[in-house]
Amino acid sequence: MNPGENHIDAPDYIEAPLAPKHTRMQEFGRMLKQNRLAALGFFIFVLFFLCAVTGLILTSGTKPLFNPAMVRLEEKLRPPLSKPNLQALRPDQVPVLNVYLMGTDDLGRDVFARMLQGAWVSLTVGFVAVGISVFIGIFMGGIAGYFGQHHIKAIHILFFLCLIGGIGLVLINAVFAGTALLLLCLSSIVFLLSARDKLPEKTLPAWKGILLGNAVSVDTLIMRIVDIMLCFPSFFLILTVVALLPASIYNIMIVIGLTSWMGTTRFVRAEFLSLREQDFVAAAKALGIGNFRIIFRHIMPNAVAPVLVSATIGIATAILTEAGLSFLGFGVPPPHATWGNILSDGKNFIFDAPWLTFIPGIAILIVVLSFNLFGEGLRDILNPKLRERH
């Protein structure tokens, strides 16, 4: 081989594709094919999604195709796939396909229609609760990881305590004390603004020095909040709050979301701490890009993999929690069907009508299992160490 040939080869080298030939979606599909359990999980997940959406369309409105609330007292506890007794029913009470696909419950309601309606509830509870927890988790973790070294001044803490205390007092009708606290809060802003101009710190009197001194770093503060939240036994906390608040599906979503963000915060923070020191962030900073653009455009895409995995598994957990709450009677209020309360209603007829227990139970099991399998598969797919090996 002489140097001349090498020189001629060079243009080929340059034209050769530098970026990977496969797009991310193709890569994803290929990995999914190799991990059959994850593929199965993904397939069931899509199926469940479609079921829930069609279920919502078919069971809502004034004249739904499948009426989950239609009571037929003559037709109670019919086993699955049994034909309705046409003589006993009014024409509008006859089920659509002329068969009870999944039987009827103790009030003669069509279990198939109720399962369809419940699918949407499970889906929204899972997604909204996890959405809330992921949002809080990314926000807190991002702040702790990126701005962690900044310090909060004592005056800031005072300000927030006064603000929250003042609003709280006004809300519980202690207007006088509340207004006083809000005024104090206002005065602390004034103090902060006036102190900003006078920079030479030696001239400050002692009390001003304490107020303007660094009290605690942002990172410490957020991680201590996480520690405090982790001290509560989670299901017990959810149960307490849900039992004390008026029963509604939104409360359940919010409470599950507000009590499950700690894990996300922890690893978003860990990812941010390591990514913040990387060269591409330094380069972005050198280009004068703003903090928020760096966080969301440059760091976040690199930190999103573990969040996605834990969110998928979190949806499974949220569905289980909602089912457990419904089972205890704290779930979605009665006329609305969820898989948990179909099961909970059916438990009294466990020997006479086992389908009332088994159908929702197995449905929950399959959906939660598919989310778990898909989440674990996603962990492998998104893991760059494993990707290189293949």
Partner: protein, 319 residues
């Protein structure tokens, strides 16, 4: 070492203080009133209501109530609003009921997950490994209450033994072996149910720890010098894989008071979980707050113990 202990005790005390404030605020600011002072309750005249309010310090501002409550808690004088019994004696009674469940459940978890996890790590990728992987996902995903009913139907139909409650009603008159068998049958199902999730998670964890150790150079050396496989796996690999599990002894501490609300409700087991559930329903604030406080103490103590164990077991760690 001493400075580490001192620092973490101070830190955990501060955390506990904030936990006490947050839990107090959650309970007291939530809408609704305890049934004893609910003006909607037709049994109460305004005079009785007022007396209750005074008795429970509900007429005072929140921070005074907070001080009263935690003074009562630390001097052990807190009483349940529902029946005026001391909260601690109530919790202690229920705790003794929950304890057998916890002990049997923990024993089942730890004795089952280690053999399963080690075996599936040794035969990685084999049919055994894949089966147990799938089974553990199944066990994590199965709703506890559904699994409970499946097991109840199975056991009652096939073995014809009663399983609900702590013991069969009126069993006290029969012979001693009969009584013991009865207790065991009643104990078995709830503790197996309590252990399912634990088995699934712990066996996966054992598997991944074993896999990590089995990939090390010294294992290859041990294999290369011709040691029998059992000695390699159990003496060289397993001992090193054990390290993180020693520290997990600290983390099972909170399970002592948790109890499972759902499982204890299904089996009518008069344990901690049931008591907490009933207290929530009756808005018995002292009981709810005490359970919460004790479990927070146990969580903090658990992490503290596990940190200490790490320090003792792993000489590489210097805090």
């Amino acid at each position: 070492m001493l400075s580490f202990i001192g620092r973490s005790v101070i830190q955990k005390t501060i955390t506990l203080f904030f936990v006490s404030i947050v839990s107090f605020l959650i309970i007291h600011l939530a809408p609704g009133k305890p049934s004893q002072v609910n003006p909607m309750n037709p049994k109460f005249t305004p005079e009785i209501l007022e007396r209750f309010q005074k008795e429970f310090h509900l007429d005072k501002p929140l921070y005074v109530q907070y001080l009263y409550f935690y003074r009562g808690l630390f001097t052990g004088q807190t009483v349940s609003w529902k029946d005026n019994q001391s909260v601690f004696s109530k919790i202690w009674g229920r705790f003794l009921n929950s304890l057998p469940l916890f002990i049997v459940g923990t024993l089942i978890t730890w004795t089952l997950s280690f053999p399963v996890g080690i075996r599936s790590a040794i035969y990685r990728g084999g049919i055994y490994d894949r089966t147990t992987t799938f089974l553990s996902y199944l066990l994590i995903s199965i709703p506890g209450f559904f699994f409970a009913y499946v097991l109840i139907i199975f056991v009652v139909n096939h073995f014809h033994v009663p399983v609900i409650g702590m013991e069969t009603f009126g069993i006290a008159n029969s012979s001693i072996p009969h009584m013991i068998m009865d207790r065991i049958w009643h104990l078995l199902l709830p503790s197996v149910l309590g252990a399912t999730g634990g088995i699934a998670i712990l066996s996966r964890y054992v598997r991944s720890q074993m896999l990590e150790v089995e990939g090390q150079d010294y294992i290859r050396t041990a294999k290369a010098k011709g040691l029998p496989p059992d000695q390699v796996h159990y003496k060289h690999a397993f001992r090193n894989a054990l390290l993180p599990f020693v520290t997990m002894f600290g983390l099972i501490l909170p399970g002592l008071i948790g109890g499972s609300v759902i499982i204890e409700t299904i089996f009518s087991w008069p344990g901690m979980g049931r008591m907490a559930y009933d207290a929530i329903l009756a808005r018995d604030y002292p009981v709810i707050l005490t359970v919460n406080f004790v479990s927070a103490v146990l969580v903090l103590a658990g992490t503290f113990v596990s940190d200490l164990l790490y320090l003792v077991v792993d000489p590489r760690i210097r805090l």
